[in-house]
């Protein structure tokens, strides 16, 4: 189990993290989700031992590793830009963690070679061991970086924006593949992302962060359906925000019913197809606020200038004084 307790970190005058508490069970797949500057990468690097907290502790299975260096924590770290050693072959990259071991712990040359091949098979790059990183595609490089991190048999796998540098199609394939790999290996893993879709699709639990604080920890379902704060509601998924009597009312575009009477009047601005729905952008006649909502594409397409009556099916009220 990984436990992070009351972690604080400043960079000069800038408070990167304040008072972070987090517990992660063995085998969990955790996403640290937040906008840039939320402190998610700093938290990941502190858990890895690449950065050190100003105060607070990190525990691995009950051991206090707060002052241990990265080399002594036995964590696999996958960098956003892969950080492959460009002058080494793919096989040498994967074997690096084994070849730098002290002589008495180091496996034989043949065993290292065997292990590297095995890992390359695992990441589906069999036969590419003699290539150089420069000769591989982005997705292949990412998998080499993963194989290299797994070579040291880490207790914990940390991934910093693992799909950040890839194009959309490769991203999606690699995402699915990584989820399957995690299921197969059961290795406790934490990844950092700013992409809510990625976090919701992959993670067992999502940690939403903003301004150096944790806003909410929960399963993707909880995060999406029961956002704890206005920030989470706004950052994860699409949300309409309108002012109500007791605070701000948030509702999702797909949680809207079109009614014939008793709803709020919306003047339609723009309509386009979004999968099986019409996405309608319009202005609330009364409040003058912009709203977006979905109408089943089985209905005739609304046109700009129409007035539609809507009623949110589910909504959440956030009271700014209480939050």
């Amino acid at each position: 189990m990984i436990k992070v307790q009351n972690i604080t970190k400043r960079f000069g005058d800038y408070a990167a993290l304040h008072g972070i508490d987090l517990e992660i069970e063995d085998g969990e797949f955790i996403a640290l989700l937040g906008p840039s500057g939320s402190g998610k990468t700093t938290l990941l690097r502190i858990i890895a031992g690449l950065e050190f907290q100003d105060s607070g502790e990190v525990f691995f299975n009950g051991d206090d590793v707060s002052t241990k260096k990265v080399a002594d924590r036995q964590v696999g770290f996958v960098f956003q830009q892969y950080a492959l050693f460009r002058h080494m072959t793919v096989a040498e990259n994967v074997a690096f963690g084994l070849t730098v071991k002290k002589r008495r712990d180091r496996p034989s040359k043949a065993a290292i070679k065997e292990r590297a091949e095995e890992l390359l098979r695992l990441v589906q790059l069999e036969g590419l061991g003699q290539r150089y990183p420069g000769q591989l595609s982005g997705g292949q490089r990412q998998r080499v970086a993963l194989a290299r991190a797994l070579a040291i048999e880490p207790k914990l796998l940390l991934l910093d924006e693992p799909f950040g540098a890839l194009d959309a199609k490769v991203r999606k394939d690699l995402r699915r593949w990584l989820r399957d790999l995690h299921k197969q290996m059961g290795l406790t893993s934490i990844f950092v992302t700013h992409d809510q879709e990625e976090a919701l699709e992959l993670a067992d639990r999502v940690v939403v962060m903003d301004h150096g604080k944790i806003e909410q920890i929960g399963t993707p379902e909880e995060i999406y359906m029961n956002p704890a704060t206005p920030f989470v509601s706004h950052f994860v998924g699409e949300t309409n925000r309108i002012a109500g009597n007791d605070g701000e009312i948030h509702f999702r575009p797909h949680d809207v019913d079109v009614v014939t009477e008793g709803g709020e009047a919306v003047l339609v601005d723009n309509v386009f197809r979004k999968g099986g729905w019409w996405r309608v952008e319009g202005v609330l006649a009364e409040a003058g606020l912009v709203v977006e909502f979905d109408v089943d594409a089985g209905f005739p397409q609304p046109s700009p200038g129409d007035t539609i009556l809507i009623r949110p099916r589910r909504s959440r009220l956030f009271n700014p004084e209480k939050d």
Binding site: A71, F85, G97, G134, R148
Partner: protein, 278 residues
């Protein structure tokens, strides 16, 4: 109209190339040819005889020795300084970056005088050195000091932008895989900077062998003892021994040519290498 425009373009092109070539020929090629033709004016025999005089021989050996000491020192200093500047943040970092450039911005004569003021007979440490019977100024240690000072920026200047661009991800990756500091440097950092480093070493070496001003101030011009090749060339020239002067000068010119060729080869490899890795 279009034809005329093209003709004019060609003319301009031709004129510019001609000016550039004439300029290069006059200021670079002609002197180089002159050095070799003067050196060989009285035949190869005279050329070899001039180089084989004990004083010339001593100057050559001294120059090689100075380079052999100062270049490795600056490789170590240069890597250490670049490493510190690019991989860590600490107070006074920008001051350090400015200081590295100091030898480039100060006149070499002033650089030499600094060492005379520090280590000369009337200098800051002069009395102490004399009491311990140590000679720095007008001796080999002084020449080494002046040369190290003058050539300090070459390696660091080459490495800082390179290491800045590469960041520290590779090093962090190596550390996370269990490598210690030395393994990280040897297996990851050094291979990443090797072409840039070689390039810096080459430039550093060329300057170490060719430095005149600073070395002239601290050397004392003792024949056969503290005269480097550039100083020896000057002495011979002042004594109207033109064949001797140009013979030794031609050796320095050869060094320059070798440096140029090696530099081009390195640049080519460097481009190739970084091109393949991005």
């Amino acid at each position: 109209m279009k034809l005329r425009a093209t003709t004019e373009g060609r003319l301009t092109q031709f004129a510019l190339i001609a000016i550039a070539l004439a300029f290069l020929g006059f200021f670079l090629l002609l002197p180089l040819v002159a050095v070799f033709s003067e050196a060989l004016k009285q035949g190869a025999g005279a050329f070899i005889a001039a180089i084989e005089t004990p004083d010339a021989w001593a100057a050559i050996k001294l120059t090689l020795m100075i380079a052999a000491i100062s270049v490795p020192l600056n490789v170590v200093f240069g890597i250490a300084a670049s490493w510190a500047i690019t991989k860590f943040s600490f107070p006074g970092k920008s001051l350090l970056i400015t200081l590295i450039d100091l030898p480039f911005s100060v006149s070499p004569v002033v650089s030499g005088l600094i060492f005379v003021l520090l280590f000369g007979a009337n200098g800051l440490f002069g009395a102490w050195l004399q009491a311990h019977d140590l000679k720095i100024i007008f001796a080999v240690p002084g020449i080494v000091l002046a040369t190290v000072f003058i050539t300090f920026p070459f390696v660091a200047r080459e490495l800082i932008p390179l290491m800045m661009e590469q960041g520290k991800d590779d090093e962090e990756a190596a550390l996370s895989l269990g490598a210690n500091g030395w393994q990280t440097f040897w297996h990851v950092t050094l291979p990443n900077i090797r072409w840039g480093l070689l390039y810096g070493v080459l430039l550093c070496n060329a300057r170490a062998m060719g430095e005149f001003g600073a070395v002239s101030v601290v050397s004392g011009h003792i024949r056969g003892e503290t005269n480097t090749m550039p100083l020896h060339v000057e002495i011979l020239y002042n004594e109207y021994d033109f064949v001797g002067a140009f013979a030794v000068a031609s050796l320095l010119a050869c060094l320059a040519l070798v440096t140029l060729v090696a530099k081009s080869v390195l640049e080519w490899r460097f481009d190739l290498h970084s091109g393949a890795s991005h």
